[in-house]
């Protein structure tokens, strides 16, 4: 009896040991992510609203934009490198080259919605068949200017860098990962034909496939990430997966005078005095300040400053708000002008500084942080 039992145990254990099992990879690489159409079956309004949001337009094939017409035939001299770039249209494909050289690189993808900018990107497979990416040195800025891509106006260390910034396979996957909902990958090779572009429902509502399956089966268990149950910090860190998180910076970098920080809204927000009281509270808590408190993620971001003033007054209302009202300006003034100003990083691109603070105290903050 005992040998039989141990024999059975041995066979079960052997089968269990050889059964394939993989380490969990990034969620965005998962092959089982549904596209937004299946969510639209029940959430038609949110789906319709979201189509106008910039997150729904973060990545396109260049042929689906008018960048070919915008770039072809034009020339642009990059101030830092001194190289002159040119573009040509070859059978509907945009080719970039350094003027005076015969080598061309086809630009097949456009990153960015076009509201602020669009950057052409070249993608190829290296000798190991891994996907590499070249972020082009020149971007398109509305209404039709060509200018250096943000962060790429410096000296070129190699000939390839005259055309743009080369990204290794892992970085290429991360670029696509933030501009897409699903990026299938195998051994460093991105399955571009099966890529699900743009930020769709499942990028933020992880578990939507299980949710849809449960709903269709008439079950109540949803399996979705429940945003209101996340703490404020967890909620902004979810946005920070692409927009950067404060814990990715060293303490020396988290400084009011760092112009770099304005690009990363969750980092600034997490440093704000307004954020800290509710950082560990659930996102639904009255003290909690998260990205979605001001930005409806299903709609385009509002551009009227008065809307944001109203959000500030939810706490800082002189008529009985929980927090101290502004001692300098009346409640009718626009809060963001002083506390969240726009910072221009080049002639065409400016960012709202989300580090909400009294800027006159920056010197003291700097002293403290040193």
């Amino acid at each position: 009896m005992a040998p039989c039992a141990i024999g059975g145990l041995a066979i079960s254990a052997a089968v269990w040991l050889v059964w394939p099992s993989l380490l969990p990879g990034p969620q965005v690489e998962s092959s089982s992510r549904p596209d937004a159409q299946s969510c639209a079956e029940c959430h038609a309004q949110q789906y319709a609203d979201f189509q106008a949001a910039l997150h729904a337009q973060t990545l396109r094939r260049l042929a689906d934009t008018d960048l070919l017409q915008q770039f072809a035939g034009r020339r642009f001299r990059v101030s830092g490198s001194g190289a002159e770039l040119g573009w040509s249209d070859k059978e509907g494909r945009l080719l970039a080259y350094v003027v005076g050289q015969s080598r061309t690189i086809p630009l097949d993808w456009a990153f960015g919605s076009g509201r602020h900018a669009m950057t052409p990107v070249a993608v190829w497979e290296n000798s190991q068949r891994e996907t590499e990416l070249l972020e082009h040195r020149a971007s398109w800025y509305p209404p039709g200017e060509l200018h250096a891509t943000l962060g790429l106006d410096g000296h070129a260390a190699s000939n390839l860098e005259e055309l743009g910034k080369w990204h290794a396979p892992a970085e290429a996957a991360r670029c696509f990962g933030c501009h897409s909902t699903r990026v299938p990958q195998q051994d460093g090779r991105i399955g571009l034909d099966h890529l699900l572009p743009n930020v769709q429902c499942d990028r933020c509502h992880q578990g939507s496939q299980d949710h849809a399956r449960a709903m269709r089966a008439g079950q109540s268990a949803t399996g979705l990430v429940h945003w209101p149950a996340l703490t404020s910090l967890q909620a902004i860190d979810r946005c920070g997966e692409c927009h950067r998180r404060a814990d990715e910076f060293s303490p020396d970098e988290l400084h009011p005078e760092s112009a770099r920080l304005v690009r990363f809204a969750p980092v600034g927000l997490s440093l704000s005095a307004c954020f800290r009281p509710g950082a560990r509270q659930p996102a639904r808590h009255a003290d909690a300040l998260t990205c979605v408190r001001c930005h409806d993620p299903h709609r385009p971001a509002r551009s009227d400053a008065d809307y944001y003033r109203q959000r500030c007054l939810e706490c800082h209302d002189p008529q009985g708000g929980q927090r101290k009202p502004c001692p300098v300006q009346p409640a009718t003034s626009l809060c963001t002008t002083c506390h969240m100003p726009k910072v221009a990083l080049n002639a065409w691109l400016s960012f709202t500084d989300h580090w909400i603070r009294v800027r006159e105290k920056d010197g003291q903050t700097a002293k403290k942080s040193h």
Partner: protein, 663 residues
């Protein structure tokens, strides 16, 4: 027969000490001798539990303290000798043929446990438990044996299984048997870990209890078939084959011997680290069966020849999974001299994240309490931290610096994880090229190029910056300076004597190959080639030839990316496009490529004549790789001045700037 067995024991045993956990256990022993009852907590930043086998490192440390490196080597030889004697005597009752092969198999299966580590006590525990279980007067000592085993070495719960499944030869009643088992079970808890010793011991014997297989396959606790090329695995297969064959022929013994056989197979299959322990238990079961087996006839001459051949393979390091050769001392991978220069002599304090046990051991030994290893794989397994450790390794290899969410909703990204552990340094073994490649573009930079465990410091850290700058200078010197690699060592290194090299004159290329591969994954192919030339010239190894072709492919790919053109040198030397062979070559080009592939770049440049662009470019690179930058500059200048519009001119101009930054 005995002579051939002794020959095999010497050929397999007389190798430099190379066990992964040597420095870890010596450090644990030092901590115990300094009064620590929980050395793991004293040495590891992440450790929160006490250890059951807290005393295991003390004998290792005593050995090193009394005799230094020689003490570690003597431990290895003594362990090999003791296990050889036990193995030989264990099968004395069988035929001479069986005795030789089963003793060889038993000795080989234990070979991973000869180096200084408490694992040797586990093997002795198996042997003693098996012997004492059948001697009525000795049974009383079994609880004492269990307690000693639990305090010294992992896997002490095995003692109970050995006793329980040992066939009753002395008229032991069921009540007495249960009583002895109960005493042994209690004795197992007589450690600083208390009742939890049970849990730890079971996890050590069956790691899937504490971590899932997806994690374990990336650790030393992986299932057996991931190490199917090891010497120990071959010994285990021999033993298993003998056990099955004997059981088939002795049906009356099946009921008694099948359960321990199956359990030992399970323990070995679940985790390759358990192979010596489980294999040795299997050997005791086989020994019981052979004692009843009549002689099967003598095939002495063939057996002795085969054992001699195995001895030769082991002595020469030809077994790919056991590349150590006949020698004396400490293997270069355990030599801490280079690490000592980086971290040993300075008042640096903080946590160092180590990939594996050798790294954790090195930091524990050199850090002296100032520097602490974050974790060690076995302690991480027992503490439930192995998954986090493996996922962090995966993030580093995949260059996932920024935070992200995994498919199981956990958070990944190495930056935040290392920051949370207050890590000031990383220690990455040179053979982990995936991690070294992953770190190549990060802020973590190597602090020395000489060590086989590469220490990394963070750019911007004032303590690390001077060494980072020094390494950058060295990299530039190797890549573009007047530097060429020294001939391969034939007599060993500072830490060991290569007896095989002394006897045969054949150099050991393993270190140079590993360093060349390291440069390749740091995207410094020219530096890698310079290190590879002596290997290609002197060692004629297929690995070197394969690496040479990969490096040519890397350089060709870079040319293609930068200019849209691949030079004839790279096309010809690397067979870049096998489906599209390079154009017909002249005799000069053929001679050039032949000399280049044989590791003589200078000679290759000399035989290549002509002033066409491809020839100038090739000669420039060949001179650069030969460590003659001045001559390379002359060739590149010729190319730039004569062929300003040729695609290769772009690369030549770039090299001119890189070789002479002041231009």
């Amino acid at each position: 027969m005995l002579v051939s067995f002794v020959l095999l024991a010497v050929a397999a045993g007389l190798h430099p000490v190379s066990g992964d956990s040597v420095w870890w256990h010596v450090s644990r022993g030092r901590a115990v001798c300094a009064g620590e009852i929980s050395p793991g907590q004293a040495l590891l930043a992440a450790e929160g539990n006490r250890e059951a086998d807290w005393l295991g490192g003390a004998p290792c440390f005593a050995c090193y303290y009394l005799m230094g490196d020689a003490g570690l080597m003597l431990w290895r030889l003594l362990a090999c000798a003791v296990l050889a004697v036990i193995s030989w005597r264990m099968f004395a009752a069988g035929s001479a043929f069986l005795q030789l092969w089963l003793a060889v198999a038993t000795l080989l299966v234990t070979s991973n446990n000869w180096d200084p580590s408490p694992a040797l006590f586990g093997l002795l525990g198996v042997w003693l438990a098996d012997r004492w279980a059948r001697i009525p007067t000795a049974r009383l000592a079994l609880p004492v044996l269990t307690a000693c085993w639990a305090n010294l070495a992992p896997g002490a719960a095995l003692a109970l299984a050995i006793f329980y499944f040992r066939p009753d030869e002395g008229g032991l009643t069921a009540r007495r048997k249960l009583g002895t088992l109960a005493l042994m079970a209690l004795a197992l808890c007589l450690t600083p870990r208390g009742i939890w010793t049970w849990r730890d011991s079971l996890v050590e014997l069956w790691p899937p209890l504490a971590a899932d297989r997806a994690v374990l396959v990336h650790t030393p606790f992986r299932p057996l078939w991931h190490d199917a090329d090891s010497v120990a695995f071959c010994g285990w297969c021999l033993l298993l084959w003998a056990a099955i064959a004997l059981l088939v022929r002795l049906p009356t013994r099946r009921a008694a011997c099948a359960p321990p056989l199956l359990l030992s197979v399970l323990a070995a299959a679940a985790c390759s680290i358990n192979l010596p322990l489980a294999g040795f238990w299997l050997a005791t079961v086989v020994a019981r069966l052979t004692s009843r087996e009549p002689s099967t006839g003598v095939k002495s001459a063939a057996s002795m020849c085969l054992v001699a051949a195995i001895s030769l393979v082991l002595a020469a390091g030809y077994w790919s999974a056991a590349p150590q050769r006949l020698g004396w001392g400490i293997a270069p991978k355990l030599d801490l001299a280079s690490l000592q220069e980086v971290w040993g002599n300075r008042q640096r304090a903080g946590n160092v994240w180590c990939v594996d046990t050798p790294g954790a051991g090195a930091i524990s030994w050199l850090g002296q309490g100032r520097l602490k290893a974050v974790d060690e794989p076995r302690r991480a397994l027992l503490g439930g931290r192995l998954r986090a450790h493996v996922l962090l390794c995966d993030d580093l290899a995949q260059r996932r610096e920024a935070s992200y969410y995994r498919a199981d909703s956990s958070e990944g990204g190495w930056h935040a994880s290392l920051a949370a552990q207050r890590v000031v340094g990383l220690l990455v073994p040179i053979e982990r090229t995936d991690l070294l490649a992953g770190l190549a573009d990060s802020a973590w930079r190597p602090l020395t190029l000489a060590a086989l465990d590469i220490p990394h410091g963070q750019a911007g850290d004032p303590d690390a910056n001077p060494q980072i700058v020094e390494v950058l200078k060295q990299e530039n010197l190797i890549t573009r300076g007047v530097w060429s690699a020294a001939p391969l060592p034939r007599f060993g290194s500072a830490s060991h004597i290569d007896l095989w090299g002394l006897a045969t004159g054949r150099p050991d290329a393993s270190t140079a190959l590993a360093q060349a591969a390291m440069f390749q994954c740091r995207r410094l192919p020219a530096a890698a080639l310079k290190l590879l030339f002596p290997v290609v010239r002197e060692a004629h190894s297929p690995e070197a030839a394969a690496l040479f072709h990969r490096l040519q492919g890397d350089l060709a790919w870079r040319e293609q990316l930068e200019t849209g053109h691949t030079s004839q040198l790279r096309q010809s030397a690397g067979r870049v496009h096998p489906s599209n062979p390079p154009p017909e070559m002249s005799a000069a080009w053929r001679n050039t490529i032949a000399a280049y592939a044989a590791g003589h770049p200078d000679q290759a440049a000399s035989v290549l004549e002509g002033i066409e662009a491809e020839a100038c470019y090739a000669r420039g690179w060949l001179r650069l790789e030969a460590g003659r930058p001045a001559e390379a500059v002359a060739e590149f200048r010729t190319l730039v001045s004569r062929y300003p519009d040729h695609p290769l001119t772009i690369l030549a101009a770039h090299e001119l700037v890189a070789i002479s930054p002041e231009r």
